[in-house]
Symmetry: C2
Subunit: 395 residues, 2 copies
């Protein structure tokens, strides 16, 4: 087995909710030692009552877990002491939070010039919106995602997945590792500034294509169709037991589909002869595909299309996804039994290198569970010392 | 100014459409030298008629651009020769495509054991679905994204942004840089296997939270509301000129919002006293917020909420986004005049390090524009040699 890519790297993960913790989780799955640092109350996603949320479970396994009270002088000294021996500190507080407590990037890089100090926020650390509060749904609204989701003539709709949070988290991971690579060449640390909003902009590619194709005006929402109404078939089509997605980006895909549909004559019909004319006759094109799919099951359409060389997929429910045999065969999902949730699956990591075995996912550790071990290791503190830190409100 | 993180790294970018090219674009924006390699016909997104698509423009600036015909023996020799002197080769063909031509990972790592060979596909290089055709909309269907977007009682809906493609691309970038970091420690190259589907799974966090909260059954679609219907206010609310997103994750947000709404008495009403009871009285909670927002403009609600400490954002159109003063002030968007599209903006990079200036975006170069320069530099070929390669169908 090959070496984990980030073996030997130590990370202090001050992340909360989704964005920061996802970056920390990926760092752990790449072999880094990740120490999750929470306030003595626990981070927001842990759950005030002590009952963990499933997303917390998904994002915080494999992290040693300690507490620090940033409002305490002794707590802040612990941050500086840890940062002196860490490679990375990541956080996704509001801009200026760590600075306010005297443990921001400037102070910590002074203590450790090789530190990679990595912050992720909704809108970034510069520009007029820098101090605005942001969550996934508000960044979806601000970044245009909401305006391009849903049907024409109906109100805008949010996208179901937490894409802004997770795009923020993976761009944070990517920048951290880029800075670590740079440190190998230059010896220098870095201050990282990732904005969720910036990280979402590339996903507008098709929509911006439609915007500029229409001369710089907002295109209509297109439901399940192509953003610029430039490709057909491109839609979700009803089956006897649900829906499938079918897309024909090349004329070859369309030829193969007409064969499957038993409608080979459509290829010679000038209305359906090429990409442009099919797009101009989108209703008729979609009607022909629907006439075929609606008498079949999702699985039948899927298997026929894939065997016939036409891009297609069934609309899978969450239940289908967590039990997807492909994802399990590939190791993208991991089964485990959780003390509260029972039998669950958690995603492993999408960062896959051949012959490198990522660590086996674990459930998160309890709040402050590693205080004695970590403070003992880093500062030589005894169990009594750690108890005293707790009593004085430092951890 | 600080050093670019990937200065000195040479990348061969065989990417096409969105996924691979986005990874290549980010590598270029991080300071790598990126050589885009296309077939003599150009990659799919370039546009068959020579008229570039806007997404192609967004994703392929800053790349030297050459052609190679993989079906030609001499073309394949060029791939091997380039790979001997490159640090990274990335591609997002169907699994096995490069192998079929004898220039897959195994062959190229034999020629250059330090090479990072990075492939991204819809479903990955292992598992029963590995050979299935995939595009953004089919991966959205397969990964559960479609099933959790849209309104309860209505058909499923795709998310507007191309999140699967771009999540694939940024996870590909992240794995490449992780492997480069590992190479600094071990001297070894790597073979990377990123699946778009794997990379989307973490965005299901909230939806999976609802799934397990409901005992492992598929939750209903919730439109613009919280996936588990566990938070209120959490919605898009109508204003006189559009919609805003408002979310109150803490009781403090709600207290501040009731002040703004002129409804402070609601805080003492047991129906709205805490997160749980507000979620149980979601219709009434949303109605109270809507009664307030509907008489105001988006901008008024946004400014009142941000000043009052309530997370909020206007639903911005594409036109709002490309002209967003914050994104321009921050340098997240770049204005330029395109020969076909006129005045456009393109996203720069979300991978931001303080005091490091990313390269200024450029428009893509013409198909094969750097053949003479690159083949001259790598192989000592004269202009005549390159012309001969072209005539024999190698490039």
């Amino acid at each position: 087995m090959g070496e984990q890519p980030l073996a030997g790297v130590t990370v202090l993960d001050f992340g909360q909710i989704y964005n920061g913790p996802y970056a920390g989780y990926l760092l752990a799955m790449s072999g880094a030692r990740v120490i999750k640092v929470e306030s003595p109350l626990g981070e927001g996603l842990r759950g005030a009552t002590g009952s963990e949320s499933f997303p917390f479970t998904m994002l915080n396994g494999l992290k040693e877990t300690i507490t620090i009270n940033l409002k305490s002088e002794a707590g802040r000294e612990l941050v500086v002491g840890l940062a002196k021996r860490a490679d990375v500190l990541l956080e996704n507080f509001r801009p200026g939070t760590m600075d306010k407590f005297g443990v921001g990037a400037q102070a910590l890089l002074k203590a450790n010039p090789r530190l990679v100090y990595a912050a992720s926020t909704g809108y970034g650390s510069s520009g007029p919106h820098r101090d605005y509060l942001a969550m996934d749904i508000t960044v979806q609204a601000m970044s245009g995602v909401v305006s391009i989701t849903g049907n024409d003539g109906e109100p805008p709709l949010k996208s179901g997945p937490a894409l802004c949070d997770m795009l923020g988290g993976i761009h944070l991971y990517a920048t951290i590792v880029s800075a670590l690579y740079r440190r190998e060449q230059t010896g220098k640390g870095a201050v990282i500034d990732v904005a969720m909003q910036d990280s979402v902009l590339p996903t507008l590619a098709s929509a911006l294509g439609a915007y500029y194709r229409f001369g710089g005006t907002n295109p209509p929402r297109t439901g399940n169709r192509h953003q610029a109404l430039g490709v057909a078939p491109y839609n979700l089509y009803p089956c006897s037991d649900g829906h499938v997605a079918i897309i024909c980006v090349r004329d070859g895909h369309w030829r193969k589909l007409t064969d499957l549909m038993g409608r080979p004559e459509m290829v010679d019909d000038p209305r359906f002869a090429d990409k442009q004319t099919r797009a101009e006759h989108m209703e008729e094109t979609d009607a022909a595909v629907e006439a075929w799919t609606s008498s079949l099951t999702k699985d039948e359409v899927f298997r026929f299309c894939q065997a016939g060389g036409v891009p297609c997929a069934p609309v899978q429910s969450l239940d289908d996804v967590v039990n997807d045999p492909h994802l399990h065969a590939r190791g993208a999902l991991h089964r485990a039994t959780h003390p509260v949730f029972g039998d669950v699956v958690v995603p492993t990591t999408a960062l896959r290198i051949r012959d490198v075995e990522p660590p086996t996912p674990q459930f998160p550790r309890k709040l402050g569970q590693d205080n004695v071990a970590v403070y003992g290791e880093f500062f030589g503190h005894s169990e009594q010392d750690v108890q005293a830190l707790k009593e004085q409100g430092a951890i």
